[in-house]
């Protein structure tokens, strides 16, 4: 739908839009064993934009998200078809190094999952494995800026060497965001990052997503319509493994093209 609309644009316009697309999925299909979870999804992710993926449970939002940094590779019976590009480069190409890809496309999970290490070591984990810093000073610097970006610095600066698992749920999730930010990714994927948090912690994370947008491209899966409306500029609606429509968030929430989207937003199913 969206793709069809785009093909009608002038060639020059297409070119500029291609450039502003950070990631592009074409005919993405996913099978878990014999069961097909995604059907020919075509979706563009724009640079420095928050894209929300919405839709009822089990419609394939997480599955699509995990395709974007190949986390599906870690699931035994999962097969991905179609093409996904990051800045024009096919990420499923055999020449692509997954390690490098995941450094560029970071991920924040549904349940906060800090490592059973200190706060400092949690944040320094990514930079260590990618060799992003040499000296202690460099590491200190990365840890500090990442925690500042995640809005956690003031709360933890006096106890950097205490266990990350000792923080509250909301703080743990922001620690995970800091951990992802520390490897300077270009894209950050978030799978229902607030579903395990209370409203105040949720508000903090949403605010953080707002701020991160200027430096990162963000894709967020969410169950909450309000959250999608608050944090995203683009929204993609999934249903039964298919992309129903993708458009400006304002448009989706006020005047969607598809009646299924309308029904879902109005709470008529899901």
């Amino acid at each position: 739908m969206n793709m069809i609309a785009e093909t009608k644009l002038e060639p020059k316009q297409v070119q500029t839009m291609q450039n502003s697309f950070k990631m592009l999925g074409r005919n993405v299909t996913v099978h878990y064993g014999a069961k097909q979870a995604l059907f020919d999804v075509n979706l563009a992710i724009r640079q420095n934009t928050v894209t929300a993926l919405i839709g009822p449970s089990g419609c394939g939002k997480s599955t699509f998200l995990r395709c974007l940094n190949r986390m599906n590779d870690t699931i035994d019976n999962c097969r991905v078809g179609g093409e996904i590009t990051l800045e024009g480069q096919d990420i499923y190409d055999p020449s692509i190094d997954v390690v490098e890809l995941r450094a560029r496309v970071g991920m924040v999970f549904q349940k906060p999952n800090p490592f059973p290490k200190s706060i400092y070591e949690n944040v320094a984990y990514g930079p260590r494995i990618h060799g992003l810093a040499r000296s202690k000073v460099d590491f200190d610097q990365i840890v500090e800026t990442s925690l500042i970006k995640a809005g956690l610095w003031n709360e933890v600066k006096d106890r950097l060497h205490e266990a990350g698992t000792g923080l509250s749920g909301g703080q743990q999730q922001r620690l995970c965001i800091a951990r992802a930010v520390a490897v300077s990714p270009e894209v950050i994927l978030m799978d229902e990052p607030c579903s395990a948090l209370d409203p105040i912690a949720t508000a903090k994370v949403e605010e953080l997503i707002h701020e991160l947008r200027s430096n990162y491209t963000i894709v967020i899966v969410t169950h909450s319509m309000q959250q999608a409306a608050r944090v995203s500029q683009r929204t993609a609606m999934f249903h039964l493994g298919q992309l129903v429509e993708e458009n400006d968030t304002d448009k989706i929430f006020t005047n969607p093209d598809e009646s299924r989207t309308q029904d879902y937003i109005m709470g008529r199913f899901g």
């Binding site: 999952n113 490592f115 992802a180």
Partner: protein, 489 residues
């Protein structure tokens, strides 16, 4: 009436009580508090528990009482020496058993004097000493009579108690009677009793070992035992006061720890790496096949491993060392003995591999998937994730598992006997034989025993020492494992 008969009758009363209670509850008008089954169970329990408790107490108390009576009735000249008294009492018991199997006609013949008691008893396969005193026979007969009357009294009382209990229980059954709660409480008490049996037996074992060990330390001062460096408990002739011999624990303890250490040196890396492979890399199909196969290894009796050490590993190492020596120095003498610390260590290590791998595998798979995902999502490779996230998270649990394994290594006997020999030596060369605490316990307790000499009593001192070591290892291991569990709850 035999006890099994009695128990059968009480059980029948119980079954009858169950149905009676059930029917009465079902027949009572209004909504009953508990389902009829609970009422039935309540009535059955009130018929069974007091009666069975009585049977239990009686069958413990009655023999004690009867034995006391028999002892008292023995003629005074037999009671002057405790040894003779014990001997006479044993023959009373033997004859009283024999009298029950010998046909009544024979007994009558002996009584009337047509046959001698010796003939009759010998024909009934009862061993008797040459001169059989009439007091012994009469004591045996009175013992049998007392036993018989005790049995029938018990039967009568038990059946009566059972009937009365059942009746009282039956009377209580009514719509509002809370049978369910009472039955639940009885079940709870039963479960508590069962679990305390395990604990009580452990405590009993410890105390029996402790009391024997105390007797040992009365003869041999503790510091000579715990700090002595020579193990040489020569068997002194009986009655010579048990003196002589040296009971140094150190060579045995050193051997135990040395062999266990060598075994862990082999078992830990192999077991741990196989656990990592199994939990992190193996395909589900391979895992489903290999894990049970490894666990089968854990079920092989250790004597089989000892056999393997004796016939395969030991000779192999000996021949290997002699050919190596020949290559290097031209001298074909072997520097590894067939029975040596290293042989026992390797074979015991093989035995321990499945324990290490199976326990660690369980712990590694317990590390939540979300942690792995978090690490992989940051671009870590699989081995980096294992090294930096999974293993550190699992480490306390793995250490606990290794301590549990170590306590098995410390307690192992059969492999050591066959693979490292029985010579208690204090030395450091892993190619020479050494021996362990458990082997010496077996050594001291086999053959002709005299439970008063320090040569046998030392086994209990060794046992209690070993028990203390493994207990501490286990407690520490459980403490660590528990601490680890809390992390993810």
């Amino acid at each position: 009436m035999t006890s099994s008969m009695l128990i059968l009758i009480v059980a029948l009363i119980g079954i009858f009580a169950y149905f009676a209670g059930r029917i009465r509850a079902a027949g009572s008008n209004g909504r009953t508090h508990s389902r009829p089954g609970y009422h039935g169970a309540y009535v059955a329990l009130s018929a069974l528990i007091p009666a069975l408790a009585l049977v239990l107490v009686w069958s413990i108390a009655a023999p004690i009482y009867i034995n006391g009576k028999v002892h008292a009735a023995l003629p005074s000249d037999l009671k002057s020496d405790p040894a003779i008294e014990a001997l006479s009492f044993n023959s009373v018991v033997g004859i009283s058993r024999g009298l029950e199997t010998i046909p009544a006609s024979e007994v009558a013949a002996a009584r009337s004097g047509t046959k001698t008691w010796n003939e009759v008893l010998a024909a009934g396969n009862v061993p008797v000493a040459g001169d059989l005193r009439p007091e012994i026979i009469s004591a045996a007969q009175s013992m049998n009579a007392m036993t018989e009357s005790s049995r029938s009294t018990l039967a009568a009382i038990a059946v009566a108690v059972s009937l009365v209990g059942g009746f009282l229980g039956y009377r209580r059954v009514s719509a509002r009677f809370r049978a369910r709660n009472l039955v639940e409480r009885v079940i709870l008490v039963g479960l508590v009793l069962c679990s305390s049996i395990a604990i009580l037996t452990t405590i009993g074992i410890v105390f029996s070992m402790l009391s024997e060990a105390v007797r040992f330390f009365a003869v041999v001062p503790p510091h000579q035992f715990f700090f002595g460096t020579v193990w040489d408990p020569r068997f002194a002739a009986a009655g010579s006061g048990g003196a002589g011999g040296q009971f140094g624990l150190i060579p045995l303890l050193a051997g135990t720890l040395y062999i266990a250490f060598v075994a862990m040196l082999f078992a830990v890396p192999v077991g741990l790496f196989s656990a990592i492979y199994m939990s992190e890399y193996a395909s589900p199909k391979f895992r489903a096949l290999a894990k049970p196969a490894l666990e089968v290894l854990a079920g092989i009796p250790t004597i089989v491993y000892g056999f393997f050490a004796l016939t395969a590993v030991g000779p192999f190492l000996r021949d290997l060392s002699s050919s190596l020596n020949h290559l290097v120095t031209g001298d074909a003498s072997n520097f590894i003995q067939a029975q040596s610390v290293i042989t026992a260590g390797i074979v015991m290590g093989i035995m321990l591999i499945p324990f290490v791998s199976s326990l660690s595998d369980d712990i590694i798979t317990q590390v939540p998937r979300s942690l792995r995902d978090g690490s992989l999502g940051l671009g870590a490779t699989r081995s980096e994730t294992i090294k930096k996230v999974v293993l550190p998270a699992a480490l306390p649990g793995i250490v606990g598992a290794l301590l549990l394994t170590a306590s098995r290594a410390v307690g192992e006997t059969m492999i050591v006997v066959l693979a490292a020999g029985v010579a208690a030596r204090l030395q450091l060369n892993p190619f020479e034989p050494m021996t362990t605490v458990t082997v010496k316990i077996v050594n001291q307790l086999t053959g002709d025993l005299e439970f008063t000499s320090p040569q046998t009593l030392v086994a209990f001192a060794l046992g209690i020492t070993l028990f203390a070591i493994t207990l501490m290892l286990n407690i520490y291991a459980l403490y660590i494992v528990r601490k680890y569990r809390e992390q993810y709850e």
